[in-house]
Every structure is written in structure tokens, then in C-alpha cells.
């Protein structure tokens, strides 16, 4: 069996995926079978979509093999935004890794912060006080709304509905204002740190969030009024980009892409973290696994996130936000003036960081795109020995080839939009 890569631009011929002896193809309609369905046309035309293309939401190159207007095969060429974060993690202390995680999924940076922080905290056996956990939930759920708003705006823009885009950015800006108020930065907040938060929130935070959630449900009604029953929108999305539940799981899809196919898997429900088990929310699930179902799910998720934020604000406990363990959290500023020991701790934590015991673990959270996991290996030093990021967009994008099979080339744009990839997350 040859392992030579095919020459660039030739595409993988339909019969190049070998069947292995003794291994049955277990997906009904999975990779093996869907490739068999391709009828070899006389001549397939290969065109590049991207890397500079407004509908690829970043720098993504799709090599489409076209039979007339039909997409017969689609090869995604990724890596244009590869930054080597996993290598960089190995030369930064744990706290220094937090700003790096911001820049992976740049549409929902607090999610990455939370995933990394929870993994390190689990590795060290740290407990975060209830106030810290609730504030984390508020911040990440707001960022989930912000991320879904960008998705909704750009997805609608791709399909020709320009107004929704403006409305979505209007609401997203209010969330960014809140982020700026609590952390000083609008996008790359680094607000969630290992051991707790960057700082407690200012007193204006609660009224700001209340003002946002008070009318957000009506804003979602506005978007839905423009799209959900719009005949053009429905014609362009219903029955398009269908993927079955079994295929989606085989491709490792998660998040709305998987739930659109009817699998009720949400990490917040299945493996609750950061006190998510104390909130009431629903996990919306689709039926058909098409673009329209994924749209409905994300819109519904914005409403559910808003509900979670409401509950968390209402029940926000007092007390500290960070773990009391002084081997991880910085001492309060006031103590530095009077206590030599605090000063030493402050110095050691900022220069050297902390050293978890040797060990390895995998911890996942539900990001707007799906299961965001961190596989962390510690050798007892102050830097991660290895940190693998299980990026949801990466696995979701690998299922694109199946989703655009035999669709029209103009619809490929809609399908790419519906899986909501962030190229920073795909390439890391």
C-alpha cells in the first residue's frame, strides 16, 4: 500500500480510500458507501474556494471537484492560521498559557480560558469558590451569545440577508462593552485564570448584564422574525448539508453540528463543570441534521444562554472569587505592603509559577462550537509537558466533505457557514 501523497491539486480519487481487511465499514452510509455513490463523471472541474474568500470565515481553502454545478468531492486545505500553540504551551508557565488560549478560538476567548484553567485546576485538585464559578459561567455564556451572534450575522450575510448582520453586531458590541468593563480588553480578555479570575468584577457589572439580558430575548425575536419563517431563508437551508447522527459521531462532530442531527450531547449536561448542574437550561436538538436545524439550534441556544446568565446573576453569591491556595493565587495587593511572605509568594508566582504533580488528564467543556477538550500532561515542572487541544472546529470541518457531497456549489457556502468554524480553532 503506497503512502505517497497524491500530487497537489489532483484531489483524492474516489476509489483511493482503501478498505482494510477484516474491518467492516460500520456506518450506514459512511465514508465507504458515500464514496461509492459518486458516479465518475467524464471530467470533473477543480476549483479553489479560498483561501481568500469572504464566505470561508477565515483563511480556509476548499478544493471543490465540480460536475457542472454539483460538488462531487471537497478537500479542505487548512493550516493557514497554524501558530503552533501546542508547542508554545511547552515553553510557557501555566498562567502564561492563558493569553495563548485566548487566541485559538478568537470568537469566544473566555471559553478557551475556562477549558484550560479547569484542566489545570483538576490536575492540581483546586476548588474554586462559588462566586468565582458563577462569574465564570456568566462570562462564558455571554461569550457564547457573542460567538453565536457573529455566526448568525455572517451566516445570514453569506446567504444574502444583510440586515441581520447589523443587528447582530449591535448586540455583540454590548457584550464586548461588558468584557471591556470587567477586564479592560474587548476581545482577548484573559479574564479567567488558573485558580479563579483576573479580579473580582466591578460593581457596575451586575446592572450592565441585567440591562443586556432584560431585552435580549426580544432581540432574538427580531432576528427570528427576519429569518425563521422567511421563505427564501427556508428554501436555501432546509434539506441542505444533511448528515446523519451515526456519521456525525464517526466524524467526531460535537456541539450544534452534532445536536442538529438529533444527538442530545452537551458537555454541560453530560459532564457538568463549574456548577452548571445548578442551572436550569434546555439542550435543543434537531431532527433532520440540515443547515436549517443547526440554525434553529444556535438561535435557541442564545435564548438558553441568556436564561443561564439570568439565573446566575440572580443567585450570584458573595465571597472570594479565587481559590484560597496561596501556591496558585497571587496575594492581595494590600498584603504586599506588610507581609514579607506575601511578597515572596508574589515574586515566586510571577517569575516561576506553580508546579503541579506529574500526571495527565483530559477535560472537556462545551464551547459554542462543541466539545473543547484539553489533554494535559505534567512532568512536575512549571510548564505543561504536553498540551493537546481537542478543537471542536477541527473535527466538525472534517465532516464538511460528507455534508457538501452532491450539493450545488452555491450551497457549499451555506454549509460551511452552518458548521460555524473558527479557523483559529481549526489550525491552532
Amino acid at each position: 500500500m503506497s503512502l505517497q501523497p497524491p500530487p497537489l491539486g489532483t484531489g483524492t480519487p474516489p476509489d483511493a480510500i482503501p478498505r482494510q481487511e477484516g474491518v467492516p465499514h460500520l456506518h450506514p452510509g459512511g465514508v465507504g458507501e458515500f464514496l461509492e455513490k459518486i458516479e465518475p463523471a467524464e471530467e470533473l472541474m477543480e476549483i479553489n474556494m479560498g483561501p481568500q474568500h469572504p464566505s470561508t470565515h477565515g483563511v480556509l481553502r476548499l478544493v471543490l471537484s465540480l460536475d457542472g454545478e454539483r460538488v462531487r468531492d471537497c478537500r479542505a486545505d487548512i493550516g493557514y492560521l497554524h501558530t503552533g500553540f501546542e508547542k508554545s504551551f511547552e515553553s510557557h508557565t501555566y498562567q502564561q498559557c492563558i493569553p495563548l488560549t485566548d487566541r485559538m478560538d478568537y470568537l469566544a476567548p473566555p471559553m478557551n480560558n475556562l477549558g484550560f484553567a479547569l484542566t489545570v485546576e483538576k490536575l492540581m485538585g483546586l476548588e474554586i469558590p462559588p462566586r468565582g464559578q458563577y462569574l465564570r459561567v456568566i462570562v462564558v455564556e455571554l461569550s457564547r451569545i457573542a460567538s453565536h451572534l457573529i455566526w448568525l450575522g455572517t451566516h445570514a450575510l453569506d446567504l444574502g440577508a444583510t440586515t441581520v448582520f447589523m443587528y447582530c453586531w449591535r448586540e455583540r458590541d454590548r457584550i464586548l462593552d461588558i468584557m471591556e468593563w470587567i477586564s479592560g480588553v474587548r476581545m482577548m480578555t484573559s479574564f479567567i485564570r488558573v485558580g479563579g479570575l483576573m479580579a473580582d468584577v466591578p460593581e457596575e457589572f451586575v446592572p450592565m448584564v441585567r440591562a443586556f439580558t432584560a431585552d435580549f430575548q426580544q432581540k432574538v425575536d427580531e432576528y427570528e422574525g427576519l429569518l425563521t419563517s422567511n421563505p427564501i431563508w427556508r428554501q436555501r437551508t432546509i434539506g441542505l448539508g444533511v448528515i446523519s447522527a451515526a456519521e456525525a459521531m464517526g466524524f467526531g462532530c460535537s456541539g450544534p453540528t452534532l445536536r442538529g442531527s438529533g444527538v442530545p450531547y452537551d458537555v454541560r449536561r453530560a459532564q457538568p463543570y463549574s456548577s452548571y448542574d445548578q442551572f436550569e437550561f434546555e439542550v435543543p436538538v434537531g431532527v433532520n441534521g440540515d443547515v436549517y436545524d443547526r440554525y434553529l439550534i444556535r438561535v435557541r441556544e442564545m435564548r438558553e444562554s441568556c436564561r443561564i446568565v439570568d439565573q446566575a446573576i440572580k443567585a450570584l453569591p458573595g465571597g472570594p472569587t479565587n481559590t484560597p491556595d496561596r501556591k496558585v493565587t497571587l496575594p492581595p495587593r494590600a498584603e504586599l505592603d506588610t507581609s514579607m511572605e506575601s511578597l515572596i509568594h508574589h515574586f515566586k508566582l510571577t517569575t516561576e509559577g506553580f508546579r503541579p504533580d506529574p500526571g495527565s488528564l483530559y477535560h472537556a467543556i462545551e464551547s459554542p462550537r462543541g466539545e473543547l477538550g484539553f489533554l494535559l500532561v505534567s512532568d512536575g515542572g512549571n510548564r505543561p509537558y504536553r498540551c493537546k487541544v481537542r478543537a471542536p472546529s477541527f473535527s466538525n470541518l472534517s465532516a464538511l466533505r460528507r455534508m457538501v457531497q452532491d450539493e450545488l456549489v452555491a450551497d457549499a457556502v451555506a454549509v460551511v457557514g452552518s458548521i460555524d468554524i473558527t479557523l483559529g480553532d481549526v489550525d491552532r
Binding site: 500500500m1 503512502l3 501523497p5 497524491p6 497537489l8 483524492t12 483511493a16 480510500i17 482494510q20 477484516g22 474491518v23 467492516p24 460500520l26 456506518h27 465514508v31 487548512i78 493550516g79 497554524h82 503552533g84 501546542e86 508547542k87 508554545s88 511547552e90 515553553s91 483538576k122 492540581m124 485538585g125 451515526a246 456519521e247 459521531m249 464517526g250 466524524f251 467526531g252 462532530c253 460535537s254 452534532l258 450531547y265 459532564q271 501556591k327 516561576e352 508546579r355 504533580d357 495527565s360 488528564l361 483530559y362 472537556a364 477538550g373 489533554l375 500532561v377 512536575g380 509537558y385 504536553r386 493537546k388 481537542r390 477541527f394 473535527s395 472534517s398 465532516a399 460528507r402 491552532r428
Partner: protein
């Protein structure tokens, strides 16, 4: 202040249902005891199997009604340069029916031909390409084993521990062994050869 390690803390208590226990139970029936290693850490059962058994194990884990690990979470590699075999391939598979996560680890060296799981889990195809790209692991039976994140003409596999990520070696007293070859080292430092050659 000397960089002394922090005092060891007690590990967090493992939450009651251990993850991966279903995979452990199934593989105990499937594999001879010599080929199955198990270990538990942070409430997660770690299963170690030889590379030759990977296909059998993966298709059993995916289709057996007691396990049904259908969701291909990811696969990755951990490099231990001092160890033989050098790499640990880690496969993470999730069962949504049983809400369980399997951690299957396969020790491999550079020469080991690891079978590709892309026929069983199509989602593993890209993860294996990433693993080939960044670690140089070869997967047999892979449909398209090319670099995925880095350019096709990239040299080396950056996530290996012996791949220097950036910067030029600059010699200070504490890292001179690493920064300078023994030929270039000042003769008053251990490991220098120039002075030794002149003296002899």
C-alpha cells in the same frame, strides 16, 4: 530563592463512576492479560494495548452494545524521548449512550506501523494526519497521509521534544553544555575538548 518544587498536595477525590470502565471490562474478555495494561488516574481508566491490536479493539469498542464508543473525540501523541518505545499514542473515544470516555494508549516507536482507524472512525483521518505532521508517526492504511497543518515542504516534526522551536542558542554559564558543542566550549568548563587536545 532556589526553585524548589511545591509541596505535594492531596489529589482530588475521584468522582464515583470511573470513566472508561466499560472499555476495560470489554477488553478484559477480548485480549490476553499480557497485552492489556490498565491504570487509573483522575477517575479515568487508562488502557494500554499493543499497536497490532488497535483495529480489533477499536471496532469492538465501537460496535459492542456494552460500550458503543461511537464519537471519535481525538487522537494525539505524547513524546517521551528518553523512553523506548518513544511515543504514546492516545485515542479518546466517547460513548454517548453510556456517557463514558475511553482512553486507549498505544506505545509506538518511530518505526512502528500503526494501523489507521479512518475506516472505523472517519473523523480520525484528520487527527492522524495531524499526528503524522507534528510527530512523524506513520499510519498504515491511511487514505491520504500528508501534512495537514504545516506546508508540504516543511522539514521535521515540530512537536517532538528534540525539535527546537525558536531562537538561536546563546551561551550563558547555566546552559553552555546545551548551547555550545564540546569543540567550542571554553576549556575551563567540563566537556571541553580543545584544551584537552592541546594538553595531550
Amino acid at each position: 530563592m532556589s526553585p524548589e518544587p511545591a509541596p505535594r498536595r492531596p489529589r482530588a477525590a475521584t468522582s464515583p463512576p470511573e470513566q472508561g470502565r466499560r472499555a476495560g471490562r470489554l477488553l478484559k474478555k477480548l485480549l490476553p492479560p499480557a497485552e492489556l495494561g490498565t491504570d487509573s488516574e483522575f477517575g479515568q481508566l487508562r488502557i494500554t494495548i499493543p499497536a497490532g491490536r488497535l483495529l480489533v479493539v477499536a471496532s469492538a469498542l465501537r460496535s459492542d452494545p456494552s460500550t458503543l464508543y461511537e464519537l471519535a473525540v481525538c487522537m494525539t501523541c505524547i513524546d517521551w524521548p528518553e523512553r523506548d518505545p518513544r511515543f504514546d499514542l492516545v485515542y479518546l473515544l466517547r460513548s454517548l449512550v453510556h456517557n463514558d470516555l475511553a482512553w486507549v494508549s498505544v506505545p509506538a516507536s518511530e518505526e512502528t506501523e500503526v494501523p489507521s482507524l479512518s475506516a472505523i472512525y472517519p473523523g480520525m483521518e484528520w487527527h492522524e494526519r495531524e499526528c503524522y505532521d507534528l510527530f512523524g508517526i506513520r499510519f498504515s492504511g491511511h487514505p491520504n497521509l500528508t501534512r495537514i497543518l504545516l506546508p508540504d515542504d516543511w522539514e521535521g516534526h515540530p512537536l517532538r521534544k528534540d525539535y527546537v522551536s525558536f531562537g538561536e542558542p546563546v551561551a550563558f554559564t547555566h546552559n553552555i553544555e546545551w548551547a555550545l558543542s564540546s569543540q567550542d566550549r571554553p576549556e575551563y568548563l567540563p566537556g571541553a575538548t580543545r584544551g584537552a587536545v592541546e594538553r595531550s
